[in-house]
Symmetry: C2
Subunit: 356 residues, 2 copies
């Protein structure tokens, strides 16, 4: 029997609540499928841990995680711990430390999901954003000079390597070729005269190897506009770390809200564990009320299934999410409903078990 | 008589077509008002000039412009001239060379303007974005190492000075205080660990001087989402050069489209001329067809009126734009209508002249 070992970092705020439901769903799927199973190990890392130990995770944290096939992360961040500590020292540390250089974020309007756009039908919002996840604007390089003096100046350097840029763009081309979809690059060469000129160049170079892939290239400002006005322009999208961050939140906004947005942080070579997470924050304001939307965490669970080769089950979980929203009106308050976190998770499990 | 000397750089693509209508409107306003006038001088700079002379404008271009009170710019960019040349060497050169460090972009849903958002009413989209316009991510600093080698690495450095950061944030606080509106800062300290930590710090520091201004601070990714989901959260917004670029295109998308979005590039000390422009591009695909929307250029004209102290007339032009859209259904194709560029401009002039 194929056992998938999952490290669960439920994290802060609503993290544990939504992860609970995702774990339930994975267990149910494994029980029905019968030929694989999950083994979950919980790590109490996050802001509470930080307040106690002065660090977000133990010094050998990454080493501990190395023994697992994947990490399932809830959400990180809590008032009292500055964001640039909580996020950089946990979420970003894992992404970088495990060379999870591909961030896969589906932007797909499911049946039953609320869309804030007029005159847009479901088939117009169906893309996959491939975000560079290991370097670029997030490299953390910079300097802070003449602190407190009138001539104070702060530098933040984006670092775009040939290797890092090629591999993410190549990943996106492969996906576009495999799925027969168009590939759109989002950049900003007219203002960022080094990094984005390089990005565009590599996008063109690699494109030579994929003559059958139809491509487009948009400036990030224009792309933001088209996400709202003509989202059907986009199928597979590839972009830098920062632009991917912005554009996928915007994507979440048009495709049902943050309560539905999932992201996979992949190390495609499987040398390190990959990490799966709802992309929403820890939402401390609604924590412990049982009203957080677990569907993003459940969608991430379906990405876990895909990643381990159980794509048929991954797709089923997405279908079931749609059924829960459409037939059962299982919508949490963020989507205009009144269902609780647990009710939504239980309903998904119930529909799944009825599939048997 | 107060004569305002305006340098017109109509530019490329639809630039000349839309600027024509803006100039008509300014002339009409001056004729009616009677106590001031405009003197327009045209400069044929842009991509055509580049193809002929190998540069976007003459070497003493900025010197020539120094004799004017303001620059009125159409749009720049044309196929055959790389964007990072056409924009950096003209638009960005003027912004920087004339220390136009404040970019004022209204995001306001006018009556009659098409809004792509469901369930959003006009009063929910009414903000002014103050974008830093002279440094930050657009500093142009960087390096390109080991070109063509496997270890190739490209660096792009954002430069945030104490002076540059303070002055834009102070400008925004002043505006918020003067107008009694809330001030929202958009940044990204959880990922950009130097520049945006500094930005947030300065935003807080300057805030000490404005205890009466109510403030918020959003991450740029969350802000993008809220622009679509709850735009009423924003009144006065202050943000960096790059984030301002992205967020104002998104703002344009929710407030009627790029055909309606205006921007003022201000040197508030009036040591250098300020520059006014529709923020849309040169749209070569629809150039010379007479169907470009001139309302963004006309809105910029109203910003020119404001800037020269004719705020009453500036406001009137905005009213008249609304009347043209609502009463006269003067909408160009981008807004779902069938009016031509000239028809819209003529109608605005006609309504204005009827005000007499
Ligand atoms: C929390 C933050 C550091 C993170 C990011 O910017 O990548 C988040 O917004 C995301 O998109 O996963
Ligand atoms: C053309 C481009 C360089 C410019 C910018 O990025 O500032 C434009 O998008 C704008 O917003 O005025």
């Amino acid at each position: 029997m194929n056992v998938h070992k999952i490290a669960v970092i439920a994290g802060d705020g609503i993290g544990p609540e939504v992860i609970n439901e995702g774990v339930k769903v994975l267990k149910e799927v494994a029980a029905i499928a019968g030929d694989f199973s999950f083994q979950f190990t919980y790590f109490p890392w996050g802001c509470e841990y930080y307040l106690e130990h002065g660090k977000m995770l133990p010094d050998d944290g990454l080493e501990q995680l190395m023994k697992f096939d994947a990490v399932y992360l809830g959400a990180v961040g809590y008032p009292g711990v500055p964001d640039h500590i909580s996020l950089r020292e946990l979420l970003l540390k894992i992404r970088k430390g495990f060379d999870q250089y591909v961030n896969v974020r589906p932007v797909k309007l499911l049946q039953g999901a609320p869309c804030p756009l007029k005159d847009v039908t479901r088939d117009q919002i169906d893309m996959v954003v491939i975000r560079e996840n290991s370097e670029g604007e997030y490299s953390g390089a910079g300097d802070w000079l003449f602190k407190g003096k009138p001539e104070e100046v702060v530098l933040q350097t984006g670092v775009f390597s040939r290797k890092g840029t090629e591999r993410i763009i190549r990943y996106a081309y492969e996906l576009a070729r495999k799925t027969g979809r168009t590939l759109t690059s989002i950049s900003k060469a007219n203002a960022l005269n080094y990094s984005m000129v390089f990005w565009d160049q590599v996008f063109e170079e690699i494109g030579q190897e994929y003559p059958e892939v139809e491509t487009n290239s948009y400036l990030v400002d224009a792309a933001s506009m088209y996400f709202v006005k003509q989202p059907e322009r986009f199928q597979i999208v590839v972009t830098s770390n920062l632009f991917g961050d912005i554009i996928t939140d915007l994507g979440a906004a048009i495709a049902g809200g943050m309560g539905l947005a999932a992201g996979a942080n992949l190390n495609p070579e499987r040398i390190y564990p990959s990490m799966f997470e709802p992309i929403h924050g820890s939402a401390p304001d609604i924590a412990h009320q049982g009203i957080a939307n677990p569907l993003a965490a459940i969608w991430s669970a379906s990405q876990i299934l895909d990643f381990f080769g159980h794509e048929v089950w991954g797709a089923k979980v997405l279908d079931v999410i749609e059924q829960a929203m459409v037939d059962k009106k299982m919508l949490t308050p963020d989507m205009g409903g009144a269902a609780s976190t647990e009710e939504v998770g239980d309903e998904v499990v119930k529909i799944l078990s009825a599939l048997q």
